[in-house]
């Protein structure tokens, strides 16, 4: 701990303690009669308006992926592997505008908490619902792991624990941070990350505005920054004997990779359970629509955050520090801040990244927990579970999910963390046909969608496993070559999924296989009920005695 800067360290710790306090206090915010109901714990009472919704959804969508993974990918290999994220966050909003309001409406009418609830109601299929729940949980693991990697990058640059050779000691700060997160998530549910999102967004905005104006002025202007980026991307990498990366995708192949990564990621984003959770927590249908046009304001920031990768390349001390740290590009942004700022502002920026990773990690674990409880535990283990038991189970599962994420964080190659998110994307994209087509039509047969899902999952997983890089033999990337073109594996798997679904639907329809019950009605997809659905008649008593975990 010898090289820890006391000022930076103190500021990060103080801000972390404040955030933890808010997380615990959030249990009392907009307090409901019965906190032990999944509508409360998992969706914060489904009553958030445009303003809070903006902070919640924004705080949910912009994660360590944004702050660490994207700039480090830009730092390493430029536009195709990194800056595609800007294109991705552009098209995600028009795409979501098409189907998210319908999902909100039907979920509101039927009191669905998870996407798998909707699939169950729409197709009357437990199997398909289980597939969606399983995929959601699986895909969230690497995404939560990515948050851990982001926190770890900051801790490493701060010099906390890195000097020890004992793995446990080295990861102790990370474990403490995660324990605190896990406990307040279990207690306060979605209210905790929602309140913390305000602090997060304020810090992140401060961090990025200062970075955009201050850093270029210090290192010689934007012209110098782009020149450094271009020079690095054109330089020949000694290991691969190819250019380091792509500064501007001018070849057809790199353009296709850029576009498929953006399109695949965009289609995936609002299939992720945590994105759906944040959306369903809003009060009215209009709130979502307004937010789809207000959230790009947040994305402007993403564009500049991505450019931090080039800023890091333009700053020789940062490049040297990254090289000294074993070439771990994840450290480029934290090192850049450390070299550019006085130690107090480094502390604020580091805290912004750490807190920025905590908020989505909390929402993701809540979403995964709701999926497990509603669509696996209640569906297959204990159908008569009371809302109270549902919530209790969710609280524990949210804990377990974070442990699973920890395993991902340890087990997968961390040098290229953007892959963690892209890998999750390959999986979650396989629920896209069932979820999105289901919002518009019942044409697809439920068994066919299941077959398509299975085909996409198997193909995508194997293809991603087989991607090798000079440093990793497996899970090395998220694009591969299909028929001579470099494309995002997730999108190829999705196309296969859709093809199988269409073909199998024709077969099942010809064979007159049972369609399954559909409990939804067409007008419910555009409904806009003002009142939140009443909590299902809970067997548990009245609001007064809700004690339990929450108020202890």
């Amino acid at each position: 701990m010898s090289n820890v800067n006391a000022v930076t360290f103190t500021i990060v710790v103080v801000l972390f303690v404040i955030v933890a306090g808010v997380g615990f206090a959030a249990a009392r915010w907009r307090r409901a009669e019965d906190m032990l109901h999944l509508n409360e714990w998992g969706l914060g009472g489904r009553g958030f308006g445009t303003f809070i919704g903006w902070f919640l959804i924004g705080g949910d969508l912009y994660t360590a992926y944004t702050f660490i993974a994207v700039p480090s990918a830009v730092f390493l290999s430029g536009a195709v592997a990194g800056f595609f994220a800007v294109s991705y966050t552009i098209i995600v909003f028009p795409i979501a505008m098409i189907f998210m309001p319908r999902l909100w409406s039907v979920s509101r009418v039927h009191n669905y908490v998870t996407p798998a609830d909707f699939i169950r109601g729409r197709y009357g299929s437990r199997g398909l619902s289980l597939a969606v729940a399983f995929t959601g949980i699986l895909a969230l693991m690497p995404y939560i792991a990515l948050q851990l990697v982001g926190i770890q990058a900051v801790l490493t640059v701060m010099g906390v624990g890195t000097t020890s050779h004992n793995t446990f000691i080295r990861d102790l700060p990370l474990i403490i941070a995660f324990l605190v997160l896990a406990i307040f998530t279990a207690l306060s549910g979605l209210r905790a990350p929602t309140m913390i999102a305000f602090i997060k967004d304020a810090l992140v905005y401060l961090m990025i505005i200062v970075a955009v104006f201050y850093i270029p002025a210090r290192i010689g202007g934007w012209g110098h920054i782009f020149a450094a980026g271009e020079a690095h991307m054109k330089a020949i990498n000694p290991t691969t004997h190819k250019p380091n990366g792509v500064f501007i995708p001018t070849t057809g192949n790199s353009q296709l990779a850029f576009a498929t990564l953006a399109l695949g990621s965009a289609c995936a984003l609002f299939c992720y359970p945590h994105a759906i959770t944040a959306t369903l927590a809003t009060r009215r249908r209009d709130v979502i629509k307004r937010n789809m046009s207000l959230l790009p304001l947040y994305s402007i920031m993403l564009g500049f955050i991505a450019l931090l990768g080039y800023m890091a390349l333009a700053d020789q001390p940062t490049v040297a520090s990254v090289k000294k740290a074993g070439g771990n590009a994840q450290l480029s942004v934290p090192f850049l801040f450390q070299h550019m700022y006085p130690s107090w502002f480094t502390g604020i920026s580091f805290a912004a990244i750490v807190i920025g990773a905590l908020v989505p990690a909390a929402i993701m674990s809540i979403a995964a927990a709701s999926l497990f409880t509603r669509n696996i535990f209640k569906e297959f283990v204990k159908p008569d579970a009371s809302p109270r038991l549902e919530t209790r189970i969710s609280q524990w599962v949210s804990f377990a999910v974070k442990l699973g994420a920890l395993l991902f964080a340890i087990g997968l190659p961390k040098t290229f963390s953007i892959n963690l998110q892209l890998l999750g994307g390959i999986w979650i994209l396989q629920v896209f046909p069932a979820l999105v087509s289901g919002l518009f039509t019942r044409w697809f047969h439920r068994w066919a969608l299941l077959a398509g899902w299975a085909a996409g999952m198997i193909f995508g997983t194997i293809a991603a496993y087989r991607v090798a890089t000079p440093t990793a033999s497996h899970w090395g990337g998220s694009t591969d070559i299909e028929f001579g073109h470099t494309v995002y594996i997730g999108l190829t798997a999705l196309l296969l999924n859709i093809a199988v679904s269409v073909a199998a639907t024709l077969i099942f329809r010809a064979a007159r296989a049972p369609q399954g019950a559909d409990e939804t009605l067409p007008h419910q997809y555009t409904a806009d009920p003002a009142e939140a659905p009443a909590p299902a008649p809970a067997a548990a008593g009245t609001g007064a005695g809700t004690s339990g975990v929450v108020s202890d």
Binding site: P94, A259, R284, L295, P514
Partner: protein
Amino acid sequence: MTQPAVQPGKPGARNRVAAHPYISAAITILIVADIFFALYVPLYARATPKVGDFPFFYFYLLIYMPATGIVLWIVYLLQRRLLPAAPAAGSTSEEAR
């Protein structure tokens, strides 16, 4: 999968679209264009003309963000006009929140 086979309800909420063909077309065009001009990379994968110190490729994507926000806000306003003449009483008081 033991549920009895039930015929799914026929979608019947198309009348709003049919009643406002121009607005509906405008919404569709705006959404499709918004996606297309970001995905069609050859359109903007160029270094020139530089805007300030920004290569065109980077400038284009950065300026696209607020443009998307504006386009989607227009879509949102147009979609409100598709609603039946008397919007829900609660939806106007919603603005203040």
